[in-house]
């Protein structure tokens, strides 16, 4: 038996005796004998922790992580921002790590209050008044936003900017097979969405319009144009925002978003090969009763003291079942708590500083890379932390060559962004990149794209 189960042989014997049984196998009398595994599972027997840990260390050693191995210039939804020891230490407290959904609020005020603070912080970042207690990741938040928009308008046509993260669009398309939503791709022109490219008469009025700010190419969209499409058609405006850039940018709420979604990884989570990350979801007060996922509200206890509890529960799957607004149960609470801690650490001045420093680094890096022979801008629209380039060689090749030089150069772009060619590279620069790192990257880049 492993070191995690406390049963001694005499405990087991005593317990079986109490039940009038003579063996553990008899506990499974209800399982038809023909179905039972005679020889046990076809996996290796258990091994001691240190042996298994060494195996996992070997696997980890077969990766080339960002840090001393690779200087990170990749983004595309996963960013190398500072995660201080204090965030890791507090988010790693076992009271947060080893509890579950706060079904009993009297013994869950810690998680509940942290979520209440998280909701407040996300609402302030997004500029709309209601935020939920998290969803799985950015793509899941987008799927839920579209479902909310369709339910609110009763119209299943969704106009989806091509500037929305392509993997999020893939996920939306996967789930549309079940809901029947009709997704209409709205193309980009010079890096931002060309809303005039959609003929209203051909596809009918949209129920939902989705735009990203900044978009996948790092460009700043004129969100007012998307808002105008919504005002003409009665659609809901969903803005996929970036919570770090929101430190300096006009908020989605200020642009008139009805629903705001985002990927919260940059708020204290490591790159972690893509998860667990954090789906951000916020909306105007009109839509609170269609909100997906958990929502924490402030109230009082029997003695009139301030207390927190999950609320508007009648929306949720365990009560509403097939009529629920969403099927979400377990979400990403620990990541939401992590983000609350990280945002507390950054505070008012740190949030703006991270965004500003990332923008400075990106602009400095972009200008230098555009000085490399054969490198062209993908678009001339304004950017903040991330930007697209066109290279004189294939982007995959450039990424592999630069990895050999110690740089994760960026993310090769889908050919739909580059007229069918595979020469597009998306480069991100965070506040962690030093001038010396950027200068060395540019030198290596110059050799790699020849």
């Amino acid at each position: 038996m492993s070191g995690y189960t406390p049963h001694t042989e005499s405990d087991v014997a005593a317990m079986l005796g109490f039940l009038g049984l003579s063996s553990l196998d008899e506990l499974f009398a209800a399982v038809p004998a023909a179905l039972r595994l005679a020889a046990g599972l076809d996996i290796a027997p258990g091994r001691p922790e240190p042996d298994v840990f060494a195996h996992l260390e070997d696997l980890a050693a077969a990766n080339r992580p960002c840090g001393r191995e690779l200087v990170c210039f990749a983004g595309a939804g996963a960013y190398d921002h500072e995660v201080p020891p204090v965030t890791r230490a507090l988010a790693g407290r076992s009271e947060f790590v080893t509890s579950y959904t706060p079904y009993q609020p009297e013994v869950a005020q810690g998680v509940l209050q942290a979520l209440f603070e998280f909701q407040t912080l996300v609402a302030r970042l997004s500029g709309v008044p209601i935020a939920n207690a998290s969803l799985y990741d950015g793509s899941a938040a987008l799927v839920e936003a579209v479902n909310l928009g369709v339910a609110a308008t009763g119209r299943q046509d969704v106009w989806l900017s091509h500037g929305v993260n392509p993997t999020w669009r893939d996920v939306l398309s996967t789930f549309a097979a079940g809901t029947g939503h009709r997704l209409h791709d709205v193309p980009l022109r010079n890096g931002t969405t060309d809303w005039s490219a959609v003929a209203f008469d051909d596809v009918g009025d949209p129920g939902v319009v989705v735009v990203a700010y900044p978009n996948f190419l790092g460009c700043l969209e004129d969100v007012a144009q998307a808002r105008a499409v919504c005002d003409r058609s009665g659609a809901l405006l969903v803005v996929a925002f970036d919570p770090v850039c929101a430190g300096i940018l006009r908020s989605p709420g200020e642009w008139g978003a009805d629903v705001v979604v985002g990927e919260g990884q940059a708020l204290g989570m490591p790159l972690g090969f893509g998860g667990p990350y954090l789906g951000l979801f916020a909306c105007t007060a009109d839509h609170v009763r269609r909100l997906p996922g958990r929502l924490v509200g402030e109230t009082v206890d029997a003695e009139g003291r301030r207390a927190y509890v999950t609320t508007l529960r009648a929306r949720e799957q365990d009560i509403r079942r097939e009529k629920a607004t969403s099927n979400v149960c377990t979400n990403q609470t620990l990541m939401a708590v992590t983000a609350a801690i990280q945002l507390g650490w950054l505070g008012t001045s740190g949030m703006a500083e991270v965004a500003l420093r990332s923008a400075r680094g990106a602009h400095y890096c972009r200008r230098a890379l555009l000085g490399v022979a054969g490198v062209e801008p993908l678009a001339t629209a304004a950017v903040v932390r991330e930007f697209g380039l066109r290279l004189p060689v294939g982007a995959d090749l450039a990424v592999e060559r630069l990895a050999d030089e110690g740089f994760l150069a960026g993310v090769a772009l889908d050919a739909s962004y580059t007229d069918g060619r595979h020469d597009g590279l998306l480069v991100a620069v965070t506040e962690r990149r030093t001038r010396a790192e950027i200068d060395a990257f540019v030198s290596a880049f110059d050799k790699a794209v020849r």
Binding site: F18, A30, R36, T98, V111, R321, E431
Partner: protein, 515 residues
């Protein structure tokens, strides 16, 4: 100027001080602790030219109103979240017999694995040549999950059980459509988790509910009566949410397959049968696992979870992509990505909750084939011991041995004393235990669903049982009902006014009524 002018006012809402163990003061929010000008952040020196914001971002794109978060020192931040953690029950503190949630002990080695820089530092879009360790890890996990479930292939993308359910239903849809069939109904038993019907709706299907019989299992005759060629499949939890093994599973599988439907296994209760019986051998075609439950990854206050979906060979071509694969048959062949020909598409922004997946692999390898079987046996032993110990104090609506959890009822207690399942739960909190799940499954009146898990000792089980017996006995004493209904007293807050929270919604600090 008086002394009062020189002494700061305490943060509104409570004492922003130490000593949470000495009083029951509420903890102020981060926003009340905030003092303009304080900061915790420290960022790297970069020497990047300090260009002003207005040269970087056009005016129309800059924030109108400045963003105000909180302003605290690192010390205040640590104090705040540490005090919050002291107001939170957790598995590490004590028994957490929350039925259906498998709140077992979470081995600390998994925390150490999930903190390895070689895992945490890897960008999800890095080229495969830089991520061979991660790809190998995912392939290894997929293989052991298939061995445990008796399936042929799996996707690790779904981020939680409900995401796995919807993924499974879309696989079901794709399989039928590839055969040129449009089916519209999915059958679920009335004891199912609420996520099942919600997922069925999102999968574009209509829910058909079948009743349970007097023994707590699916009524096979009732099932046969709703089966026809419009049924895409059935979703089952086995053992079911009553903690009972569906003994007629082979007949159920034959009946569903007989009309061309598929069987979906909800892995919420997989802990009960690890190494004893596999869903694949029962006839299931699609299985989701809850790694945060069965493999203790852990629960994180309500996630992150992970909900991989394993399928039989005939459904493998439809799995979400891209999938981690070995590129060739040689033992030293490199790993890469491959998208199945008829893939339903992505169901996650990246590759799933990767660090959770690494924890699950660690747990599985430490336990191995023998240890996982021990897990199931001891989980079932603990649940049956508690069930027998408590029968008499509470009603046992299904008088037969259970699997990993038992569902008891406070129905008689309520009738004779007025004390409900909820009151029993609240009294248990002040006895130092987390409460069982209450009022689920819906088909049991005043349900208390108790899942002790394999990691609680006989001594802990007895302490829990003795507490329940004490609570039930006290309910019969004079004034006992009032004592139960006023519980808990000894928790950080007393019973919380949920109705007020919904009626006067305050979802953020900024939505607080003035004053």
């Amino acid at each position: 100027m008086t002394v009062d002018d020189l002494v700061p006012a305490p943060a509104a809402g409570g004492r922003a001080a130490s000593a949470p163990l000495l009083g029951r003061d509420v903890e102020p929010t981060l926003f009340e602790l905030s003092e303009p000008g304080r900061r915790a952040w420290q960022l790297r020196t970069t020497d990047v030219p300090e260009v002003p914001l207005d040269e970087l971002v056009p005016a129309g794109h800059r924030r109108g109103a400045p963003l105000v978060l909180a302003e605290v020192s690192e010390r205040d931040l640590v104090g705040h979240f540490t005090r919050l953690s002291h107001r939170q029950f957790s598995v590490d503190l004590g028994a957490y017999p929350l039925g259906s949630c498998t709140m077992k002990y979470n081995p600390k080695v998994c925390d150490a694995v999930a903190a390895l820089p070689g895992l945490t530092g890897v960008h999800p879009a890095a080229p495969a040549v830089c991520t061979q360790g991660w790809l190998g890890l995912l392939v290894e996990l997929e293989e052991v999950l298939c061995a445990i479930t008796g399936m042929a292939a799996a996707t690790l993308q779904p981020a939680a059980g409900a995401a796995g359910e919807l993924t499974g239903l879309l696989l079901m849809r794709a399989w039928h459509e590839a055969r040129g069939e449009q089916r519209h109904k999915v059958v679920i038993p009335d004891s199912a988790h609420g996520t099942n019907p919600a997922s069925v709706t999102l999968g574009g299907y209509e829910v058909v509910t079948v009743p349970s019989d007097a023994r707590g299992c699916i009524d096979v005759e009732a099932l046969r009566s709703v089966l026809d060629e419009d049924v895409a499949g059935i979703m089952l939890t086995n053992p079911n949410t009553l903690g009972l093994f569906e003994e007629d599973i082979v007949a159920v599988a034959d009946a569903v397959h007989g009309v061309g439907g598929l069987l979906y296994y909800d892995g919420a209760n997989l802990n009960a049968i690890l190494g004893v019986v596999r869903p694949g051998d029962m006839g299931f075609d699609i299985v989701h696992l809850n790694l945060h439950k069965t493999f203790a990854t852990p629960h994180g206050g309500g996630g992150p979870g992970a909900g991989p979906v394993a399928v039989s060979a005939r459904l493998a071509p439809f799995l979400p992509g891209p999938r981690p694969v070995r590129m060739g048959d040689a033992p030293d062949a490199p790993y890469g990505w491959s998208t199945p020909e008829q893939s339903i598409g992505r169901v996650h922004s990246w590759h799933g909750n990767a660090l959770v997946l690494a924890r699950a692999l660690t747990y599985i390898l430490v336990h191995g084939s023998d240890g996982l079987r021990d897990v199931a046996q001891l989980a079932v032993l603990n649940a049956n011991w508690l069930r027998q110990r408590l029968t008499g104090s509470l009603d046992a609506p299904y008088d037969r041995p259970c699997m990993h959890e038992c569902v008891l009822s406070a129905s008689s207690l309520k009738r004779t004393t007025g004390v409900k399942a909820l009151d029993v739960a609240k009294r248990l909190l002040e006895e130092g235990f987390h409460s069982p799940t209450v009022y689920f499954p819906l088909i049991v009146d005043e349900a208390l669903m108790i899942e002790p898990t394999e990691t609680e000792s006989l001594q802990t089980l007895e302490a829990l049982a003795a507490a329940v017996v004490r609570i039930v006995d006290d309910a019969h004493e004079p004034d006992g009902a009032r004592r139960a209904q006023e519980a808990p007293h000894a928790t950080p807050v007393r019973r919380v006014d949920e109705a007020r929270a919904a009626r006067h919604l305050v979802p953020t600090f900024d939505a607080r009524p003035p004053g």
